[in-house]
Symmetry: C2
Subunit: 210 residues, 2 copies
């Protein structure tokens, strides 16, 4: 299954300036987000399922990919397109087996070793970062920079979604370094105008590619 | 799939007096626990999988049932016998569908209405409580007492595992009120001698039944 990773917007409601989850999703989609990830570490599964069902409808209507972070069971329950796992979540190989072949598996990686392992375990795409310093994710570790991204690009062939401190000013160099798309949290959902921020970032990604 | 619910020990490591998870499990099984539930709300999925795999081996060797709380994906990943969900976890009907027919689905209930709904949604057994006041679960709500348990017993035919403030002094009246077994946290894993506490409680349950 292929997906366009140009602009991958991660929704974590408490980074959205007090706006409701579904409003953030609607605005991100209105601005052209090609993928939405629901990443809520502190919500009970029942709430995740309720939100996930709504986001499934919104993303389907917009032609966008919908990915659930960590909770593979919730991803299946809401018929998301796939699940994204970090290095502390389910082991990738286990996730691949539970998901079956028809769903997308994304894995967060920061090194060539992790990237190779994730692909061997069945990842369909990789989250790669942090590229730059970021405050959206406390446990993001030291930035790997464009050099780190290039090294992973040289090592694997699956799509790479770069993450960490990316905005419309630096998106071009990230794409030039080999990313297939950019993932953002605050740069879009923390912006005063979410749709406008998404639109600007998507334009920067597409300009960089052509 | 049937399981003996006589003594259902819930493992939440931080209620275990500083002892390691697997030591608590080993001691509970040594004392005769017939079912073990892993309930860790704050551990990453990767750690749950690692613990779950070990508990799967220990419970299999002891002939005990192994249930994972909330994380259906983890339950499947470690080949647990089933999953237990509360009213804030995955909806029971969704859990039933994702689990398939070969796994056990348990649902926490406190009223006849919830109990009937859970059975209609596919629950194989019900957790019923809190019977008495308890400090192990902050969100347990007002105790339903033996009267609440009897009402649920009269309403459904699936096995009932009573929970909440149960110990070897009151276990007999809980069984007499219609419970098929008792679930405990602190009464076993908080005891100075976990195996002895399990043994004493199991004996009380079995005496009450015969």
């Amino acid at each position: 299954m292929m997906a366009p990773w140009d602009l991958y917007v991660i929704i974590t409601t408490n980074l959205g300036g007090g706006r409701p989850t579904l409003e953030l999703v609607r605005q991100a989609l209105a601005g052209g987000a090609t993928a939405i990830q629901l990443r809520e570490k502190d919500l009970p599964a029942r709430e995740l399922v309720e939100l996930g069902r709504e986001i499934r409808q919104l993303t389907r209507a917009a032609g966008a990919t919908f990915i659930v972070n960590d909770r593979l069971d919730v991803a299946l329950a809401v018929e998301a397109d796939g699940v994204h796992i970090g290095q502390e979540d389910l082991p990738a190989r286990v996730a691949r087996e539970l998901l079956g072949p028809g769903k997308i598996l994304g894995v967060s990686t920061g090194t060539v070793l992790e990237a190779r392992q994730a692909v061997a375990d069945g990842a369909d795409y990789l989250g790669v970062g942090s590229i730059y310093a970021t405050r959206s994710k406390e446990d993001a570790g030291e930035p790997i920079g464009l050099a780190g991204l290039k090294a992973i690009r040289a090592a694997v062939t699956v799509p790479l979604v770069a993450i960490g401190g990316i905005n419309s000013n630096n998106a071009a160099e990230v794409i030039a370094a080999g990313a297939d798309g950019v993932a953002v949290v605050s740069a879009v959902i923390g912006a005063p105008d979410v749709a406008a921020a998404a639109r600007e970032l998507l334009a920067a990604v597409r300009r960089a590619r052509h």
